[in-house]
Structures are given as structure tokens and as C-alpha cells.
Subunit: 136 residues, 2 copies
DNA sequence: AAATTATTAAACCAACCGGTTGCATAACGG
DNA sequence: CCGTTATGCAACCGGTTGGTTTAATAATTT
């Protein structure tokens, strides 16, 4: 996928898709750490961990400040904002209410015809919940 | 990365890391679509698109209902909730306040004492924002 | 029955990922 | 200086990804 020079969101999601990299982010959230500190708890060689940090840098999730022989890394969380923004647009879809509603609709759909019930959603094609009802 | 049988969060982030798959999700948010409908706007062969849908199914982001020869897909957004939950834990780190604060701290930390010149570019070391002050 | 449509499956490919090892370099502490 | 520490870099490797093409299957239409 050539994560470099790919859209930032691609790089961010890709960066977050590996547990070692999420672990790094979590620990950086508590404050700066140098590469050795970051690498030591990861069951892998130092170069491997270093590569993970580079991936995070490529996604702008980590920034590095060289101080003597130590490379201090710190979390740069802005890209996570975009992640949240992207996912938030589907919040309505995962809220429990809709799951229940879906199940209900599926149950009453099959073959109904004489629809006296106004709330009967005739089509078997289900439309997405576009509006959020305030009611109960 | 063996996305199958990997932790769900890995699979979800991986699934979201490809623009074609995000595009599929976006369009499914508007309602069910079958594979052909999903594939047609994606500049790639049908089998390629079909594979993308399978990746999304592996991440539990899409579910398929076979109806005749058509495979109707619908969005299953719960996993996105976990994504949001994961990222939300870092919200404090990307909120603008901290950026400004960081800059400020950078300015006054180094060897301050009698710092009359506010634009002194002295600083280097920046510590992570660990505590959230309520004040202004 | 034949043609069309919707989809899977299989084989193949180049590129990439995630890991390793070995060696080079640079900074710090005696 | 020398040894140690912190890191980079290049080469290599097996497995996966993301794409293709071609062929097969199955449901629908004519």
C-alpha cells in the first residue's frame, strides 16, 4: 500500500493496526520516552521496534527529538482527532437502539401486504438511520 | 499481519486503512447494497472489490445476506465504537489547549528566571501534558 | 434451453510488512 | 582512548496484501 505518501488517514489507520504500535502510543501518552525505553517491553528486536516508531512518525503520531545519543519520542495526537471524526459519523449506526430496531424490522418484513400499520416499513430494503429521533 | 484470527481491533484498524474499504463503509451507511453496486464505482476489478468486502466482514464491519444471486451487504458499525473508545482515551492530548500550553511551557522552562523577553526561542525539552488544570 | 447476471474460486504477480541479523556510527563515561 | 550505550542502515526472508485474469457455479431472464 505504500503507506508513505498515502493519504494521512490511511497511514494513521495503518499505524494503529498493529498492537506493538498501539502499545507505544499508550506508553507515550504518559510522557516522553526514548527508543530503548519504548523497545524494551516489546518482544522483538530493537530494530523492529525502531521501525514501528518510524511508521508512527510517518502517520504524524509521534515526533522525535534527538538529544545527544538518545532519541526522545513524544506523542503527537492530532491525527487521532481525525480518526474520531471519521468514525463519529457512524455513531448512529452502532447505538443499541438501532440494533433492536433492525431486528424488529427484519421480523415483520417478510411478506406483509395489507399494511394498516403506519409504521410498517414496507420495503425489505432497509434504509440507514439518517435522523436521530429525540423521542423516547 | 495475518489479519484473520488477530485481535478484532487489529482487524478493524486494518480494514479502515484502505480508502476503497472506507468508501464501501460510507456508502453502506446509506443503506444495503449488493456487491456489484459496491464494486462499480471502485476503480478495480470486481474480484478485487469482493475481497475488500471480505476484509470488512472479517472485521465485523459488514454483514452479508444472500438473496438469490445477489449478496446484499449492510454496515455493522459496532466495531467502530471500539475504535472511538480507543482513540478517545487520548482526546486530552490533541485538544488545542495543550498545544498552546506546550508552546508556553517551552518558552518558560529552559533556564528562565528573569525572562523578560517573551519571544526568546530558548527551549528544547517539552514535557507531556500529564495533568489537566481546570483553571482558565 | 440458452443467455445473462452475480458471484466465487484459483492461479498468479509485484509490492509490502514485520521480523531478523550484522555492521556502522556517534555520544557519553570512565 | 576505550568500552559501552543508543541508534541507524542495509540486506535478507517468509508470509501477506492488493491487484489481475481466467474459469466455474448458480440464479434469473428470455
Amino acid at each position: 500500500m505504500v503507506i508513505d505518501r498515502a493519504p494521512l488517514l490511511d497511514r494513521v489507520f495503518h499505524a494503529l493496526a498493529h498492537p506493538a504500535r498501539r502499545s507505544i502510543i499508550r506508553r507515550l501518552a504518559a510522557g516522553e520516552q526514548n527508543l530503548s525505553e519504548l523497545a524494551s517491553p516489546l518482544k522483538m528486536s530493537f530494530p523492529a521496534a525502531s521501525k514501528h516508531v518510524r511508521v508512527l512518525e510517518g502517520a504524524r503520531l509521534v515526533r522525535r527529538r534527538i538529544s545527544g545519543r538518545q532519541h526522545m519520542c513524544r506523542l503527537e495526537a492530532e491525527p487521532l482527532k481525525e480518526v474520531t471524526q471519521w468514525t463519529e459519523q457512524f455513531r448512529g449506526h452502532w447505538e443499541a437502539r438501532f440494533q433492536a430496531l433492525d431486528a424488529l424490522l427484519e421480523e415483520m418484513q417478510p411478506q406483509d401486504a395489507a399494511v394498516t400499520n403506519p409504521s410498517a416499513p414496507t420495503p425489505r430494503r432497509r434504509s440507514a438511520p439518517r435522523i436521530r429521533r429525540k423521542t423516547s
